[in-house]
Amino acid sequence: MYWALIKKLTLREIKARYKQSFLGFFWIVLNPFFQMVIMSFVFSKILKMSDLGVPYPLFIYAGLLPWLFMVNSLQSAMNVFISDSSLIKKIYFPREILVLSTLLAKTFDFFLSFLIFILMMIVFKVPFTFFMFFFFLIFLIEFLFVYSLALILSSFNLYYRDVQYLFNLVITLWFYLTPVIYAVEFFPEKYRIIFQLNPMAVFINAYRQVLLGGDFPKWSSLGIAILLSLFLFFIAKKIFEKLEKNFADVV
């Protein structure tokens, strides 16, 4: 019975942003696109990265889109209870609906940007393969991972607003530990373990494999990421259930 509510809240997010600015939907697509252009220019033209076997802009874009999905989702989700505080104090509905709707709106952005990726594949003449369908599976796991983090961070942020500032710091570090702008192969073998334990690295590698590599994702790494995400989801649910009862009192 809450599906209608989820739908309406998701549309509210999407529509409101679209109406706020002149270029509307284009910003959603243009922002990651230009980030990709800048990064490609810096790393391929100025720093002269070694050849990766795939066009560098595509390589970066395949990593940047899932990365931005995670960052944008968490940033919005963290403030959702604060910006909708009047709603929380007034009427009952499962609180995670607000988090879920935020993520669904970001999913919309992600898929919109992904259309540009498909266009770029055509431009760079990267062949389409049936492995590309694994994209949806990988996204599903990433969604679960991000949703779990969003549940935890959004409820913590109600108690301690420092969480969002801490988050921005952590994100910077996390970005460099995740192969968005570089390839895992640039690292010596013995350090590569960190990429297996970092779900974002696993997802990004998997996206690249199925989209650009024309291959199956690496099941062993993906398996670890699935288990990690499920475990995190379980923990997040527990934490959220415990804290949500006090939301109306602390917000």
Partner: protein, 249 residues
């Protein structure tokens, strides 16, 4: 009494107490300071103390008391957004709060979009909203051409009228009213009051929080007088008001 007949019950409070943390440390700095100075992390303030009461289906109950007596907490517990620290609150039926009208309205969305958004938040089905859309708009007295304008351009009166109109179409079984009849001009207030009387006839349970004793006297069948988190009196409207006024003036 051998058994409790719950069929006629709308709301019941059994030994309900609610305490709030007086302050949480909102920043980590405060948290660490508290750790080192051994200040208590959370001080509690008791908003409601051992409340026992029941409200029957179809009753119109006025809740009176000074600011800080626990009236808002009382409504929050019924609405199910806040939970008792101890005791048990039972609510039978769909609760619609007429509190903080327009919560969930988005300023960038049009009146129409907000009607649907808020309607769904209040638990209405989309099909029902489509059906009732023009009725809601005409009740709100907002001109049709304004309905497609973002609500940020509405006057505060229009905003409140629209929010109120959505809420009254939500088929409530239990209505929580908090000083609502200050919405809009006198003509619209009269309309609100008419609507409330209509609900009363339809046997909707109404919990009516007000500082306006005249309204409570005219509208309610029963009164609950809260004082410092306790039920000081419940029963006869005239008697409750008399005690409240005696205590305060």
């Amino acid at each position: 009494m051998g058994f409790m007949n719950n069929d006629n019950l709308a709301i019941s409070f059994k030994n309900v107490s609610k305490s709030y943390p007086l302050f949480y440390q909102k920043t980590l700095k405060e948290f660490f300071q508290a750790l080192f100075t051994q200040k208590k992390t959370i001080e509690k303030v008791e908003a409601l103390k051992n409340i026992n009461l029941s409200i029957k289906k179809g009753e119109t109950v006025g809740v009176i008391g000074k600011n800080g007596a626990g009236k808002s907490t009382f409504l929050k517990l019924i609405a199910g957004v806040s939970y008792p620290t101890s005791g048990k609150v039972n609510v039978y039926g769909k609760v619609v709060p007429l509190i903080e009208l327009g919560a969930g309205f988005h300023p960038e969305l049009s009146g129409k979009e907000n009607i649907f958004l808020n309607g769904v938040i209040l638990g209405m089905e989309e099909r029902y909203l489509v059906e009732k859309f023009s009725e809601i708009v005409s009740f709100s007295e907002i001109p049709m051409d304004f309905i497609f304008t973002p609500v940020k351009y509405y006057s505060s009166g229009m905003f409140m009228r629209l929010a109120f109109s959505v809420a009254v179409f939500s088929k409530p079984e239990i209505l929580l009213v908090d000083e609502i009849l200050a919405v809009g001009d006198i003509a619209f207030q009269k309309k609100c009051l008419d609507k409330m009387n209509e609900f009363k006839k339809q046997k909707v349970t109404i919990v009516f929080v007000s500082h306006n004793m005249e309204q409570v006297k005219n509208f309610c069948e029963k009164v609950i007088y809260l004082k410092e988190g306790k039920v000081e009196y419940q029963g006869e409207v005239e008697e409750g008001i008399r005690r409240y006024l005696k205590n305060n003036f």
